[in-house]
């Protein structure tokens, strides 16, 4: 592997791992805030119990999100120093504002939320979670503003002396059309992710032996299923809708990315047909798919006519446009297989989530609540806990790999952005350590989420409930000794 390959691998790995937790945290924060707010207004204790219980999963996700987030801010400078020099005038400000506006907000108020359950009125306490949630959403806006510039540069000029990008109009950077199509899609996907995880975990909760014998646990998980299924359904529909809006933009703005998600090498006919699945040969630039007539015209233009440009044509256009600046040897074809399949997985996740939510709502309907007895369905819903992560990763891969060969679209290539001082051994070392670290953190995260689930909604809170039953007597002996030594000192 060379420096460029290792740097790209590292960026992909750290960002994908981070992006498991970002949408999860945003979605869970929103769900928990809504639960606590319902409790404030309806005074129904079960919503308080839900907010506390699912709040624990949120805190786990938030913790991992925070620590993997620091990597993001550091690695632009560490691994992509030439990119940072080129883009700093535009890219740095959103990051600094993100920290000032969003990170302080979420970190301070999550600290308040965690420790003050019995100190504030429920309404005020719920406000802490809303502020945390607001912080995480604001953070998404600012980082996506920075990312959108890379996809679709706006509001800049080129510094004639240095050749770097210089800010011309901050509002143009913020008003980037790419941002306001990308952000809603990411936000609703985050809502879907948080709700889906609650839904899936609640299904596992219903399957658990302890729940089968405890009426109150069953009520708790059933309520959680109904709540999260509604949120997940809303999230799924809105994120599909927002994704469609984004696609309309990408068709014209980054036609290569769009054509690759459809594996269209040659221009499509008119009307264009859509490949459900396809055998793609990236070397020979051919694809053979199972096609649905009219479908691609419908998806792209929302009408039954219209053809879509293929990658071969777009490649020629890009060469004509950029050869004078970047030379004839540029390869403008993006990784077609990855984009094609990522898109299909992502879309499938969206529709599957909607379907599963409807099934869950149907299974828990008022006059005939049979879901807790329907083990096969519970298993299906449970497995769906992991679905949104596949969808989120797919979406991210399309966005970022579809930018190839650019780091900043049409302006800076990926190869030109990497740190000149990087070395293969050091990159190899950091890649390896990150990989092992993420493996451990991911495993612990899943283990502890399961543990929270199987301790059940009543196994929370007060120390004796969490510790007493499980911790050996040595512990209480130790704390007695501790108290004694303290009083002696």
């Amino acid at each position: 592997m060379n420096i460029l390959g290792l740097s790209r691998f590292q960026f992909a790995m750290t960002t994908i791992f981070h992006f498991f937790y970002v949408p999860l945290s945003i979605g869970l924060a929103l769900c928990v805030a809504v639960m606590e707010t319902i409790y404030v207004f309806k005074k129904d204790e079960i919503y308080l119990k839900m907010a506390r219980f699912w709040g624990k999963i949120f805190l786990l996700s938030f913790a991992v999100g925070v620590v993997t987030g620091i990597i993001q801010e550091f690695q632009f400078g560490m691994n992509w120093s030439n990119y940072s020099r080129f883009m700093g005038d535009i890219f740095g400000a959103p990051l600094a504002i993100e920290a000032l506006l969003a990170f302080f907000l979420e970190s301070v108020f999550i600290g308040a939320w965690m420790f003050t359950w019995n100190r504030f009125k429920p309404g005020i306490h719920a406000m802490f979670m809303w502020l945390t949630c607001l912080g995480s959403i604001l953070s998404a806006i600012w980082i996506l503003a920075a990312n959108s510039f890379m996809q679709h540069p706006t509001g800049f000029e080129i510094d004639t002396k240095t050749g770097h990008v210089r800010l011309r109009n901050f509002w143009d950077v913020l008003g980037n059309p790419q941002l306001w199509r990308q952000f809603p899609h990411v936000l609703f996907a985050a809502v879907l992710t948080g709700a889906m995880v609650i839904l899936g975990m609640a299904a596992f909760g219903l399957l658990h032996k302890k729940t089968q014998s405890s009426e109150s646990d069953r009520v708790f998980y059933t309520k959680s299923v109904r709540f999260s299924a509604v949120v997940a359904l809303i999230g799924a529909i809105l994120s599909i809708y927002a994704g469609d809006l984004q696609t309309q933009f990408v068709v014209h703005d980054q036609p290569m990315k769009f054509a690759a998600t459809e594996a269209l090498y040659k221009d499509s006919g008119d009307p264009a047909s859509w490949s459900v699945i396809s055998l793609i040969n990236e070397k020979d630039k051919t694809s053979h798919g199972i096609e649905v007539p009219y479908m691609l015209s419908l998806l792209t233009y929302h009408q039954t006519t219209g053809s879509v440009k293929g990658m071969n044509t777009i490649n020629k256009e890009l060469h004509a446009k950029y050869d004078s600046k970047f030379g004839k040897d540029m390869n403008y074809y993006v990784p077609v297989n990855v984009l094609f399949w990522s898109f299909r997985f992502m879309a499938a996740v969206g529709f599957a989530a909607a379907l599963v939510s409807i099934l869950a709502l149907w299974g828990t309907r008022k006059n005939k609540n049979t879901l807790y007895k329907t083990k096969w369905l519970l298993w299906i819903i449970g497995v769906c806990t992991f679905l949104p992560f596949i969808g989120n990763t797919g979406g991210w891969l399309i966005t970022e790999l579809g930018r190839y060969p650019w780091l900043v679209y049409g302006m800076l290539t990926i190869a030109d952005g990497v740190s000149p001082t990087a070395t293969v051994p050091s990159l190899f070392f950091t890649n390896l350590v990150y990989f092992l670290l993420f493996l451990v953190i991911g495993a612990v995260m899943i283990t502890y989420s399961r543990r929270v689930l199987y301790q059940g909604p009543d196994g929370d809170g007060k120390i004796p409930a969490r510790k007493g039953s499980l911790i050996s007597d040595v512990e209480s002996e130790q704390s007695k000794l501790a108290n004694r030594s303290v009083s002696l000192a």
Binding site: A63, I71, F103
Partner: protein, 341 residues
């Protein structure tokens, strides 16, 4: 050099200083879980005392990094890529520490919790060490090229001054943490902390002398900015002596303020000495200067506006959170106001 460039150099310095002032005691508390605590309950108690705040305190580092990126992209790029391995180790330390708070609360046995407490301890010790090492290595002058890339060899990063510098930051963070604990734990614990601190302070004097001697030899600070550098040295020494005196006198508040001043003094020493450079090059040939490293005037103007609006609000609710969570924590706190429930 424009006024805005100077202001932003000071802002970056200030953000690093506030970071060390606040996160310094978090690091110190993390270290104290092994150096001072005698059992699991005490360790939990220590970590509980910073539980609501450590995450917010860490954001100052992220803000400092972000501000550096926004205001001085060339500096950010050179520093972060040049110090690749030390910063990577800082990240690993911060990751270990960052997850440990949450993970420890899910442990079922003392042994399992002890694993995360160890992660916290290791992270709390190595994060300030490598940060201190990086900053004190930088000020000696590092090999740089005309493009601003820093090509650092092992001994550019690890040498006498940088090791002393790294240890100094760790050590003063530990003292700062002990003073913080003396304010946050019940009286008996508090006395124990100050007692330890008053003994530990004796190491500070030889360490400071070593630091000044090495800085005299390996940096140009005492020549280029002789008055201010000596002044800051005097402040560091005075705050050390006063901190020591306060610890002996059992005055936790004064001791805490003193160790805070010392930590801020270390950052002031470094940034004051570097100015108007942001990266000191070996031989002074390719120094990266404030005037060349900065973003465009428009970006600086926008960031100044953003800072003026947001910083007071942020400071407002941060102060509120400290005031709201004031008071000493005890084993009762652990029971009555545990993690989530």
């Amino acid at each position: 050099m424009s006024v805005l460039q100077i202001i932003w150099f000071c802002v970056v310095a200030l953000l690093f200083a506030v970071f060390l002032l606040l996160e310094g005691f978090d690091f110190g508390v993390g270290m104290a879980t092994r150096f001072m605590a005698e059992n699991d309950t005490e360790r939990q108690l220590y970590l509980r005392s910073i539980g609501p705040h450590w995450d917010g305190n860490e954001v100052w580092l992220i803000t400092a990094g972000g501000a550096m990126f926004a205001a001085f992209p060339m500096w950010y790029a050179s520093l972060f890529s040049g110090y690749y391995i030390p910063l990577f180790l800082v990240l690993v330390a911060l990751i270990l520490r960052g997850v440990s708070f949450e993970f420890a609360s899910h442990a079922l046995t003392v042994r399992e919790r002890s694993l995360w407490q160890w992660a916290n301890f290791v992270g709390s010790m190595f994060a300030p060490f490598f940060l201190g090492m990086m900053l004190t290595s930088l000020i000696q002058g590092v090999p740089m090229d005309a493009q601003g890339n820093a090509w650092l060899g092992f001994f550019d990063i690890v040498n006498g001054l940088s090791v002393v510098g790294g240890i100094a930051v760790v050590y003063f963070s530990l003292l700062h943490g002990l003073h913080f604990l003396s304010l946050k734990l019940e009286k008996d614990h508090a006395r124990h902390m100050l007692n330890a601190s008053s003994k530990l302070y004796w190491i500070a004097y030889p360490a400071l002398v070593a630091f000044v001697v090495l800085a005299l030899i390996f940096t140009d600070f005492y020549r280029v900015h002789s008055i201010t550098t000596w002044l800051i040295t005097a402040i560091i020494l005075a705050s050390t002596i006063y901190g020591h005196y306060s610890a002996v006198k059992d005055d936790g508040v004064s001791a805490f303020i003193s160790s805070g001043v010392t930590l801020v003094g270390i950052i002031a020493f470094i940034f004051n000495g570097m100015f108007p450079r942001v990266m000191v090059s070996a031989g002074g040939v390719h120094d990266l200067l404030v005037k060349d490293a900065s973003a465009s005037p428009l970006t600086l103007e926008i960031m100044t506006g953003v800072l003026c609006v947001l910083l007071p609000i942020v400071l407002g609710y941060i102060i509120w959170s400290y005031v709201m969570q004031r008071g000493r924590v005890s084993t009762q706190t652990l029971e009555h106001s545990p993690y989530v429930g």
